[in-house]
Amino acid sequence: MTKYGMAINKTRCIGCQTCAYACKMQNSVAKNVRWNRVLSEGCDVVDGAVGQYPNLSRTYLPLACQHCENPACMKVCPTGATYKDEMGRVEIDYEKCIGCRMCMAACPYNARSFNWEEPVHEPGFAYGDKDVPERTKGVAEKCTMCKERTDRGEEPRCVQCCPMGARVFGDLDDPNSEVSKVIATRHASQLLEEQGTHPQVYYFE
């Protein structure tokens, strides 16, 4: 079996948001929507700091769908629109989504966005990968782990574009894949482990 996953090096992540925009471009993500975003952990503003001057610190947390092994969103979806595919990715069948937003309440990571209205694109055309399906108003959407790219054997766009090489993508079921090795050797951890969702996105320092 293949189980796609990712490991993100927080030491190398400089919070540059390149992955956030790469994702927006690749997936034709609309105005005021992000599938991927780099957070400044514990800060009240983006690029803020934690602590008292001059003892400050700042760490970045790139966050998107965690492609959980036990996805809370999938369980609660009434129509099976959210599903776990054969590559271990959590995907959405927009044709089946009735817009009930159970998944959004269930996701502990707030990874999902909802199209409250017909998506507005700036610039006004469908930029991005031609294979990415269009979304209409009334459906939920989120990171697909670049299904269209990974199906073609390419790495996700955020991995490809990261200027720091902070992202490692691969098959978690293959112990020899780079991502498996990194997770094993660099004490990678999962976000909100206590939620029991078993994310396939790992973080390491």
Partner: protein, 806 residues
Amino acid sequence: MSESQKTLSRRGFLKGTGAAAGALGLAGLAGVGTAGSLLSPVDAHAESEERTAHLCHQFHCLTGCNLKCTIRDERISIIEPSDIVKDKKHSTICLRGIGEVSHIYSQDRLQVPMKRVGERGEGKFEQISWDEAIKTIADNLKETQQKYGEGSVFIRKSTEAGIDFDFITQLLHADAGGQWGLDRGQANGLGPAFGPWSYLSNRSHWEFKDAATIIELSHNPLESAMVWSRPLMDAKEAGVYIVAIDPRFTGTAAKANEWLPVRPGTDAALIQGMLKAVVDNGWYDEEFIMAHTSCPYLVDRATGKSFRSSETMAPNPAVVSAEPVGAPFVWDTVTNAPALYDDPAVVAALEGEWTVDGKQLVTEFTLIKEWLDGITLEWAAETSGIDKQAIVNLADRYANNGPAIIDIGLGGADKYTNADVLGHSTAMLVALTGQYGKKGAGYASYCGLGASNPSATLNYWTLPEEYGYGESPVAMYDMPYKENSIHAALTFGDAFTLEAGAAQDMLNWVKTLDFFAIVDLYHSSAVDYADIVLPACTKFECEENVKQLRDSMGHVMLANGMVKPLFESKSDLQIERLLAAQWGLEDLLPKTYEELARFMLDGVADADPRMEGITYDALLANGGVMALPETGDDYMPDGTADFFLTPSTRIELYYEYLADQGHALPVYEDANEAFETNPKKAQYPLYFTQGKSRYRIHAYYSAAEWFQEDFGPSINIAPEDAEVRGISTGDDVRVFNDRGSFVATALINRSLQPGVLFMAETTYTRYYKEGFLQNVTNSARLERGYSMFFGPQIPYNDVLVEVEKA
């Protein structure tokens, strides 16, 4: 401003439907109001046609990534790292490259030629034809030159506009505005010591991991140049100790092992504290000093002049004056007499004082020691705000703990009047500790320029001899303050508000010009002041299939697969040709970018065998990208300390040319405005600083709607400073001083030193509620700067302000 333009453009569309300007241009005009209709709607992707194109991106971040663009239905739909560069480490992109998808099609693109109908600054325009626009510009420039002489016309092409050529200024013998005054403050101070271009490193930044310590001095590469930051993060992962010296808790400081929050404009005091510790504790490298520096050279104590030979000349001329100078003498301890510095038989004294023919001769090192005797660590600590022990510890770590690199920023500390003192002090610290010219050691700005990559040999298109730049008696930034003969101006890009401080002085002066035309991509701040506005196209667009030929990252890159210029915009080359035609001179210019590129490559292999096989046709066959032979992971230039472009070819620490001004040694002085004891602080207690943001390069990318979602004109203020003023995040606040004011959104951010404000460098006035940040910046000039290599620098950060709720 924006409203009037929208109205104009809609009307323009209705008027212009008859004179069809190409389907795309019209579609664009029709949709000015809404990005949604910027281009005709796209049907299902599947039936669309796709092609790919490659080009070299931004020069101005000093990176120049090769980008792969996917063009679908003649729209740039995907931008990604190039897959045809030779090595993976150059397959790079950052958010600015990706953001071009938004930026190219931004609503604030200039779309059609316009002429001003309101007052200057009012921003009221009317669409005109290209013919009328070009003719109006030419008529006005001709008339001005006839009336007031050739030097009465000022023309400047900003760095990014039309890289590698600037024909029209030379064809008209126009004034190009002299020194730029941008970000070479430290370079002014270190150049005489290490050579004029030594602010760029002579070794690769991929060597960062071989250092034991890296000091990021007023440099924030993790936000200003993400693509060049990879080696820094490699170093961090390899356990290199990184120190960030910056008034602000920058992205780089956040990744550093240690952050030293210096007070704005006082970095030199900290470095001098380190120098003091190094010299007092004997942490200097005597062997290096004797072999590679001017420390043993003799100086006439009475005159402050170097004691030089009148017969033997030094190998190089003086750095600043470019005049030949005599070879310096040292004190030979064998003969007990002065001797030429490079005489192999001589055993030179490092310290001492002797009398020869009534002259008191003293070594430079003795003078340095005497100068340092007058400095205390307490003073350094008090001035810079950095704890005394921290200064000593850093000096110890730097001098005694293996190879160390000082990586300086271009900007930051350069934007204070005393930046040359910092450059000079740091040059001295590096020279005395010998942290230069060996693996893992160095001192420069490790940016995209310099030695990190091999560079190509290209031909440069030259004009016949009779054409060239006119005299520039007054630098552009001084024009509002110094008498000058300029009566008309043409700028490619927004020179007036970006390349000068105190915008109100500058713009008031611009208003007095007889004529001002601007060529720009976006509705930048200066556009509103122009009489004629011409829309240029981005580097992704061209009338032909190819565009610029560039040398970047060890590759020759030919932009190809362009989309047609959007709206009614034109490429720089065609705009210059249209202008030149008004003087009948267009035949002196290349007809096309293809002709220019072919010329640049023609026969270069004869001069440089490394260029063998890199021809125009070969480039096109290779997607427009070909690597130089040395390019690759193992390219590591072996920059040494054996030769410098100084008169004696060694590091020269005593600045004879500044002796009369009391700065032969880096004597500390306060910045012009930004210093603790400035009485002005009573009225304007806050330091106002600006710097690079990842979302922009200077003002560029301001118009990208994607970035606007995240980042607008906001002023970062420390919680302490906000609290006493009753300011909360999101409030509109007025920032003001005697020079002017502006209104921006407050953002309370604790990653700031209390008492210091920070704002990302300027953006277009249209995005502010009122004014813009350049209204408060400083236009003071350092008098001795006029005698320096890069001239006086614009002290953008040497600014005190007060903030209140608007």
